[in-house]
Symmetry: C2
Subunit: 147 residues, 2 copies
């Protein structure tokens, strides 16, 4: 029995697949993402809550373009390992349980690490101010944290 | 090897413990909760995002009092099984992956099922309007869906 328990735990900790809470959703457009990023909407924008919520699953190596949000963005990481970078600041590593904020109109990008995907809930508050402005691709140099 | 795999999967599906993404946090006060509900803050209220976010882990059988939010509330269920009821409507069963909205100033309660706990992220938008108004306890009759 002890052997069985150990084997189960080992196979868990070695598993680099992320646990999905939500449906995988739709593939994000190549215009705004490098690699495969799957988006599923959770709360549509309306005038009652003025909050847009969804989940993105970034496959290993996938990331967004640089972009900004008129009222900022909150990310809640529910599984996996990835990166978040605010323009002019060092790239941060983000993991299950982390919460990241990006202030209004500040450029940022987010995505998965090369080896492990990232499951992240995004929350856009104050949507009456707007949703997103998309910009240029994140270069390999930026993705690898060398810039 | 086949036997080992089967055993692992069985022990998983039979396990009624929920998977935690966040720290357990602080025990909610008996004044506002029946049973044990653990709250951990994820995003503090401020004037940039005007959004308050946290996670509650309801142990099996635990539930909130009736309460309302001036700008409504969004719940994202990340694991387990529980209930959500809006005053005057039938009790809903909520599970991993579900998203529930409660409109502004509408009475509701939420909590875990008797046998399985509930992990839920709560999102309060437009906090400039206020946070929460607490009311009476949820009776056993209400909790059991007989009212």
């Amino acid at each position: 029995m002890a052997l069985l328990t150990t084997s189960c735990m080992e196979s868990k900790s070695e598993n680099k697949e992320t646990q999905a809470i939500f449906q995988k959703g739709e593939l994000g457009p190549a215009e705004h993402f490098t690699g495969k990023a799957w988006n599923t909407g959770l709360v549509a924008n309306d005038t009652t809550y003025n909050t847009l919520i969804g989940n993105v699953y970034f496959e290993p190596g996938a990331r967004s373009n640089w972009h900004s949000h008129p009222a900022g963005q909150i990310l809640i990481i529910t599984d996996g390992v990835g990166y978040h970078q605010i323009k002019g600041q060092p790239r941060q590593t983000i993991r299950k349980g982390d919460v990241v904020k990006c202030p209004p109109n500040v450029l940022h990008w987010h995505g998965a690490s090369p080896d492990t995907g990232l499951q992240q809930i995004y929350i856009l508050p104050k949507t009456e101010k707007g949703i997103v402005t998309w910009l240029q691709k994140v270069t390999d140099e930026e993705y690898n944290g060398r810039k």
